[in-house]
Every structure is written in C-alpha cells, then in structure tokens.
Subunit: 119 residues, 2 copies
C-alpha cells in the first residue's frame, strides 16, 4: 500500500458508530427516509420486531444528534411525526453504497420485498 491517497483514517467513526451501528440504527434512518415522515406506531409496525422501549430510545438519541426531526401536534389523540434532518438525509445518502454492497452477496436473509434496490 504505497499510495497514500488510498489511506483512510476511521477515527471519525468513533462517535457515530455507537448509535448508527446499533441493531436498528440504519434501519430507522432509512425507514424514515423512505417515507419522508413517520409516526411512532408506524415505525413500530414497519420495523417488525423492535420493542417500544428500544425504538423510543433510538429516536431520542437520533434526535439529540440531530439526525432526525420531531414534530409534535397538539391534538387528541396526540400525533408526533419524525422526519430526517438535512444531516440525516446526507447520512442516508452516504450509506447507500454500503447497502448496495451488502445486497450483492447472499450471506443474509431477505425477509421482505427488496425489489427497490438496484443491484
């Protein structure tokens, strides 16, 4: 590896990988991105298997990191909508190559219609 321009330092990941790398991290980011806006219970049913506590926790973290935006409506029953922030959208775009890579080889189980990703 002589070519120095090919070398990349991963330190920036230290802070981000902790939240993004979690089991549901990218899934949540992507799901919200796919729909534009999503409510709590919509996320609950889209992300089959996640527990309410976990989802709430992740949403809070993402909100704190300003990856997603939280909009509250004073209605009864209450309505809350989540959407990606500008930065969250950039993140989503940034991980597309990774998703494409992951979808290339079959060492995973596809359990939903993944027809929308171009292989």
């Amino acid at each position: 590896m002589k070519n120095r321009s090919n070398v990349i330092c991963l330190c920036p990941l230290d802070g981000v990988i902790d939240t993004i790398g979690k089991k549901w991290g990218l899934l949540i980011i992507n799901e919200i991105g796919n729909h534009g806006k999503l409510r709590y219970n919509e996320l609950m049913s889209e992300l089959k298997g996640i527990s309410p506590s976990t989802l709430a926790l992740m949403l809070k973290e993402f909100e704190k990191e300003e990856l997603i935006r939280r909009e509250t409506f004073n209605e009864i029953p209450p309505r809350v909508e989540y959407s990606l922030s500008t930065r969250g959208n950039e993140l989503r775009k940034a991980i597309i190559p990774f998703i494409k890579w992951a979808s290339k080889k079959g060492n995973f189980t596809v359990h939903c219609a993944c027809s929308l990703i171009k292989k």
Copy 2:
C-alpha cells in the same frame, strides 16, 4: 416521498450489520485495507484499546464471512498475515462516503492524525 426510485430497503443489512456494526468492525477492515497486509500484533498496536480476545474473535468472524484472508507461514516464530479479500475491499470502498459524512461534523473526538481524509 412519491418518487419510488428514492426508496431503499435495508433488509440486506440484517446479516451484515451484526459484524460490521460492532465497535471494532469497520476499524479493523479499514486498518487492514490501509496497510494491505497486517499481522496480529500489528493490528493490536494499531487499534489502540482492543483486547486480544476481541481482536481474535473479530478476525475469525471476518474470515468466515470472507471479508479478509488469512495467510499462515510455517516459521518460527510463527507469522500470520491478514489482508482484505476482494469482497472486503469492495466493502471498504463502499463505506468511504459514510466515513466522509462522519468526518464532516464534529460530534466525535479525533484522537489521531486524520489528515488523510479529504473533507
């Protein structure tokens, strides 16, 4: 979000995020990629803070997933060299956008010379 071509399914991640998303996952992949070939103890010192058991565990997982290659030399003292497989290299390339994204905003601590990444 009307434009369907903008929708991405993350299912492929299910299998991969478990290993890649771990604390040292990307760091290891990248470190090996940066050097081309690396030995066990070289990795130990490059990845400051990792424990021998954890490193050994990750290397095995990556080897099983065929992201890295393991070459043994029958010498005394023994020598083992790790390098990225073709697929591992593709992965490394695929996460570059993510790294660049992560390096854009300062919600992380840079504790080594990160001069090599173009912001």
